[in-house]
């Protein structure tokens, strides 16, 4: 099953993930999204930009995603751009290995 590495840029997922962390991700076919999953997805308004956020609720085929940083100014997420379609998800974070 297709896997890829997502390199974190920014602090919105702090303290879980920090700038430069390398996250092992799996495409949706391998892992189902659930509340609590961290997903990499296409920004709904800037499709060339990939974001990494945590799924905090699911409504049908739409996900509400948020950053882990408690500072409300730290994250551009569903509070700004609304829920995202599941189809925009590129993959789910499954590990943060040190050697990838």
């Amino acid at each position: 099953m297709a896997r890829f590495i997502a390199v974190v840029s920014g602090d919105s997922m702090w303290p879980t993930y920090s700038e430069g962390d390398r996250l092992l991700c799996a495409e949706l076919l391998e892992s189902a999204v659930s509340v609590g999953s961290v997903v990499v997805f296409k920004h709904p308004f800037k499709t060339s930009l990939h974001l990494v956020k945590r799924v905090t609720s699911i409504e049908g085929a739409e996900l509400f995603v948020e950053g882990d940083n408690t500072d409300p100014t730290s994250s551009e997420d569903s509070h700004n751009f609304g829920k995202i379609p599941t189809s925009s998800v590129l993959g789910i974070v499954i590990d943060k290995p040190n050697d990838v």
């Binding site: 896997r3 890829f4 590495i5 997502a6 390199v7 974190v8 840029s9 920014g10 602090d11 919105s12 997922m13 702090w14 303290p15 993930y17 920090s18 700038e19 996250l23 092992l24 990499v40 920004h43 060339s48 930009l49 990939h50 974001l51 990494v52 956020k53 950053g67 940083n69 408690t70 500072d71 100014t73 730290s74 994250s75 551009e76 700004n80 590129l90 990838v100």
Partner: protein, 155 residues
């Protein structure tokens, strides 16, 4: 962004943005420093301004006009300085910065209070303390940005 396939044996790699919605890259404590310098400059001018040598309607009007303009600019720039500091404090600095800079909140709180003090007083001491606090914020800010930017004053 295209997924980068650098080698058949290496997993493809992409960048995943975890940034804020605001313009992270355009904050700069220089705005507060310039306003703070204006406060200090006006404070010095007010303290240095002598009474007219000859009292007349014209000389008193000129004196009061000059003094009131200094006071108005000092008040306006102190308020501007406080605004710039509060934007840095609440928008740029994040919880993760407290580990490396545990004095951050105290420094900003004191700097904001010094802005208020400089508005209601004509105090060279508090104006200097305000500049010292802005310099401390400048140092924290650029340390977080990972750049060496010297503290330079316009005046």
């Amino acid at each position: 962004m295209a997924i980068l396939m650098t080698n058949d044996n290496i997993l493809p790699e992409i960048e995943a943005s975890a940034h804020c919605d605001g313009p992270c890259g355009v904050y700069d404590p220089a705005s507060a420093r310039i306003a703070g310098e204006a406060v200090q400059s006006m404070t010095k001018k007010m303290l240095a301004l002598d009474y007219p040598k000859v009292f007349s309607s014209e000389s008193m009007a000129a004196y009061l006009n000059t003094m009131s303009r200094y006071a108005a600019i000092k008040d306006e720039e102190a308020q501007k300085c406080k605004h710039e500091l509060l934007v840095l404090w609440t928008d740029f600095f994040k919880p993760q910065h407290l580990d490396a800079h545990p004095e951050l909140h105290t420094t900003f709180w004191q700097a904001a209070k010094l802005c208020s003090a400089c508005k209601v007083e004509v105090s060279a001491m508090h104006a200097q303390e305000l500049m010292d606090a802005i310099e401390a914020i400048h140092t924290m800010f650029w340390a977080i940005k990972g750049r060496e930017v010297p503290w330079i004053r316009a005046s």
